[in-house]
């Protein structure tokens, strides 16, 4: 299955390319920057920073920024993965990263739920978890290249 992904024309092109691979790599980071750039101010606001700033407009802009960043990061991440799919699939840091992404997404969904039901205490817990989980995703992602 992973070999089939590696054998696709796109994966083969990326593996041998001079410019496409670094470009995809950079766009993956742009996606992460938008994702965390959207999420971090909201989480910090929910945790008690910048109380003077109204929450709703902040959430509305941040949600769209973060959603766009997430889609971009996932799409570019899949391309990067395809270049050495069987190697990455077996890499502990990559496996940990996937679990952390799923946990962070589930946490975001529970956070949205708490937000809709105006449960401020629970929402704060999800905000703290959100910061921690997404930072852990980045650390795990970098660890793929270093271990």
């Amino acid at each position: 299955m992973w070999e089939a992904l590696e054998a696709t024309a796109l994966a083969q092109h990326l593996r041998a390319s001079t410019y496409s691979y670094p470009l995809v790599n950079a766009l993956h980071i742009v996606g992460l920057a938008l994702l965390l750039g959207g999420i971090t101010p909201v989480d910090l606001r929910l945790l008690g920073l910048w109380r003077g700033i109204p929450l709703e407009p902040l959430i509305r802009t941040a949600r769209r920024t973060a959603a766009f960043g997430l889609v971009l990061a996932l799409a570019m991440g899949l391309l990067l993965f395809s270049v050495r799919a069987s190697e990455y699939a077996m890499h502990p840091a990559f496996q940990i990263k996937l679990v952390l992404i799923l946990a962070a997404l589930a946490n975001a969904a529970f956070g949205e739920h708490a937000h809709r039901r105006h449960e401020a205490g629970r929402l704060r817990v999800h905000a703290g978890l959100s910061l921690g989980l997404w930072l852990a995703v980045i650390l795990a992602g970098r660890a793929i290249a270093y271990f």
Partner: protein, 125 residues
């Protein structure tokens, strides 16, 4: 205030962890390698070429070494073809080995295959 302080602590910790992770890199730059050129001669056992970086497994007198070679553009520049680095081929590598003496890893600056020298890093001696 307690929350603010703990957030600050978390951020400082994150920056420290990332900062410590960076110099341990085995793939970027040369800071992780030992000073002085290192030469290795052996037979290519396995070649994984292309992005994000090319890796050879080289058998040198029964010891298996990991040799980091270049990305596609670096090989293209000196006319080094993937087929040239096929299994069973004898290769001479000049480069820098890992600063950790227990690690059998060398990053190549120049390789010689079939009597032809490929200078991957012309600006390094």
């Amino acid at each position: 205030m307690a929350i603010r302080r703990s957030i600050l602590k978390m951020m400082v910790l994150f920056i420290l962890v990332v900062g410590m992770a960076a110099p341990a890199s085995a793939h970027h730059g040369w800071r992780w390698t030992a000073d002085g050129n290192f030469e290795l001669t052996g037979i290519i056992q396995r070649a994984e070429l292309g992005n994000p970086h090319g890796i050879l497994k080289v058998d040198a007198d029964g010891e298996i070494w990991t040799v980091e070679v270049g990305q596609p553009w670096r090989h293209d520049r000196v006319g080094l073809k993937d087929e040239t680095l096929s299994e069973g081929t004898e290769i001479i590598i000049v480069g820098h080995r890992s600063a950790d003496p227990d690690e059998k890893v060398v990053k190549a600056e120049r390789v010689t295959v079939g009597g032809r020298l490929y200078n991957l890093y012309p600006n390094r001696d």
